[in-house]
Amino acid sequence: MLQFSRFVTMRFIMAIVTLLMVSFIVFSLTEMVPANCAERYLAFKNTQGEQITVADIRAEEIRMGLDKPYVIRWVNWVADVLVRGDLGTSCILRVRVNDLLGNKFWISLGICLASLMLAYIIAIPVGIYSATTNKPGLNNFLRFISYLGLAMPNFLLALMIMLASTILFGDSLTGLFSKEFREAAWSYARFKDFLGHAWLPVIILGWSATAFALQTVRALISDEYGKLYVTAARARGLSGRRLLWRYPARHALGPIINSLGFDLNRVFNELPIIALILTLTEAGALLLESLARSNDQQLAGAIIFMLTASIIGLNFFTDVLLAVLDPRIRRGIMGSG
């Protein structure tokens, strides 16, 4: 137990180090955007009819701490984020990023995790079934679906669904809330309304994740299925579902759990584009808006950082889960620890 907690601590420290590195990448990125925050904000004021001088900009820079060296500003930013959970202030809007994001971030994360769950709920049984039956027709069909999942990016799927629903129902199925609930506080009715809208982005985001997961599960199971220990188990008289669940499926579980983090990464990739098409008002759309329209690097950086942090969090969680589930890894930790 002591060794296990030591493993968890080590893994946690590693996650923090990765997080720091990512924060450095993201921070550098926001720094590379031409013109700093003070200049951008004052230029914006200028368009509102206020006269801005160079001295004003310098004063603003000092007020915002932009005159300090790069590394110090990074340390400040990271410390604010990690210790106080304060993501800083939006460049243009002059509102705290935390207030801007609000629960939008959690809604997006929820949608993404739900689509990931959907992907595996479909992929695990279907993948196992297709790996163990030798129906070439079914297998070729599944292979084709998997390839299509890659070749038809989610945004095309979203467009097709929109096209179909506009023609068939006269409703383009966009948005996350009905009009009357958009600004309302969370309540049961609002939640129900949310679920009524959220299923579409969940399915669309889950589409290519499902295709990928299907391929992974199939490949893993069919790899394991040909191995000698399965033959040995069969020789001992095990067959059918018992054989499958006791041996190959358990073996394949490790790599699947391991790949969850990267699956989440892939889903995040699609999020802003889907958000644009379906006019969802959550973090993905906010990211797009902050980048495409207002060039608001503070906000964009914060969103990318939050997305990456949740991937790192998931990776940490799956590693610990794997150590709990897989006796080989557990022994590795105990043995060497």
Binding site: I25, L29, V33, P34, F155, L163, S172, P272, I304, I312
Partner: protein
């Protein structure tokens, strides 16, 4: 892999001889000959390969295939948002060897309430002509406009003005036209070219970076490897598209379309390296401790000699396969970026740019031919994926066939 010889006992001498020869050829074949032999057996990969070659040829010969200039200069002002025109060989007026279209007449009169309407005149045929002279395309047309004047560079040479097909009178729009009257067929051809070019540059830059980082990491090992792997992992964790978006948002609006194009390709390469770097490192780490490397070292071979003569050939086929596999991701990323308006922009035609306008309800309901480029895009990505998978199976001597 190789068919087991038929030992039918009373085998014909010539057959046995031929079989021995083919076995001999198989055992002495080089690595690439073996890969090709295995690849040929994979029917879906071969079919995808043919489609891929056709698409690449379409991209390369885009200026020749396109009857009109894909940009605003080639617009057809009389046929905006026009439906696709499919040439016919036959109608109620009889058969013609040369495919033809009907003449469209724009009229307005009291009968039409003085609005312009387009009418089809079935009696006036327009015939398709081949190898017609048309708009001029310059093969060498470089217009580099970086910030500052020193690096500006302009060159226009080698014009082409012969095109595969055109009409004797009026215009032909195989895939219809968009809102400004630009020919969607010509735009699609050029878009295939652009997407391929972006992908190639992106893959190349990613490859060079991956080779350097993965190579150093794998060959040096130890703490260098640990540090480089941590950095690679950190870069890999950041979701790529949001990262692309952030980088692409840095492009100033006043950059020319071509400069933008190069910048976007470079970004794709700069983010695409980690997966490949990791693979190269893993290959190097495993190969470096193999016995044949030790044998070479004992024979007194230098490090450079070992890398060049033993290590590189041992995984060059894997690298080629990896490059083919990573190609569709580049095309996908570019399309996604352009689609949301942060990638390439209008004068440059890429598949993402062509799909930019399709989200409008107007288009969804009335002008569905805007979606035609999406079909080409999917064919391109699917072809690459199938060929990549086929190559991977063929390059792996242990893939169980």
């Amino acid at each position: 892999m190789v068919d087991t010889p038929h030992t039918s006992g009373t085998g014909n001498v010539i057959d046995v001889e031929a079989e021995r020869k083919s076995k001999e050829a198989y055992f002495t074949a080089g690595q690439y000959a073996l890969i090709w032999a295995r690849f040929k057996k994979n029917r879906s990969a071969m079919a995808a390969g043919v489609i891929l070659i056709i698409l690449i040829l379409m991209g390369i010969t885009a200026p020749f295939l396109s009857p009109y200039d894909p940009n605003i200069a080639g617009r057809d002002a009389d046929y905006q948002n026009g439906a696709p025109q499919i040439p016919k060989f036959w109608d109620e007026n009889g058969f013609s060897f040369r495919p033809f279209l009907y003449t469209l007449e724009r009229k307005r009169s009291a009968a039409t309430n003085f609005r312009w309407v387009t009418e089809v005149n079935k009696d006036q045929r327009r015939y398709v002509q081949y190898f017609v002279k048309g708009w001029k395309f310059y093969i060498l047309n470089i217009d580099l406009d970086l910030p500052g004047d020193t690096f500006d560079f302009r060159l226009k040479a080698l014009p082409i003005d012969t095109h595969l097909f055109g009409m004797d009178k009026g215009n032909i729009h195989l895939f219809g036209t968009e809102s400004a009257g630009k020919d969607i067929f010509s735009r699609t051809m050029f878009a295939i070219w652009t997407s391929l070019a972006v992908g190639t540059i992106g893959v190349f830059i990613g490859f060079v970076l991956a080779l350097m980082i993965g190579g150093v990491s794998g060959y040096a090992g130890g703490w260098v490897d640990s540090i480089l792997q941590m950095i690679t992992d950190a870069v890999r964790t950041v979701p790529a598209i949001p990262l692309f978006m952030a980088l692409a948002a840095m492009v100033p609006d006043e950059w020319s379309a071509q400069t933008r194009f190069f910048f976007i390709s470079i970004i794709l390469g700069l983010i695409g390296w980690p997966t490949l770097a990791r693979r190269i490192r893993t290959h190097l780490l495993t190969e470096r401790s193999q016995e044949y490397v030790l044998a070479a070292q004992l024979c007194g071979a230098s490090a450079g000699h070992i890398i060049r003569r033993h290590l590189l050939p041992s995984f060059s086929s894997y690298i080629i396969v990896d490059l083919v596999i990573s190609f569709p991701y580049m095309v996908l990323s570019e399309t996604a970026l352009s689609f949301i308006g942060l990638g390439l922009k209008d004068p440059v035609n890429s598949l993402g740019v062509l799909l930019q306008n399709v989200t409008k309800v107007d288009v969804l309901l009335n002008y569905q031919w805007y979606f035609i480029p999406a079909g080409f895009f999917m064919a391109l990505v699917l072809a690459f994926v199938f060929v990549g998978d086929g190559l991977r199976d063929a390059a792996d001597p242990y893939s169980g066939h």
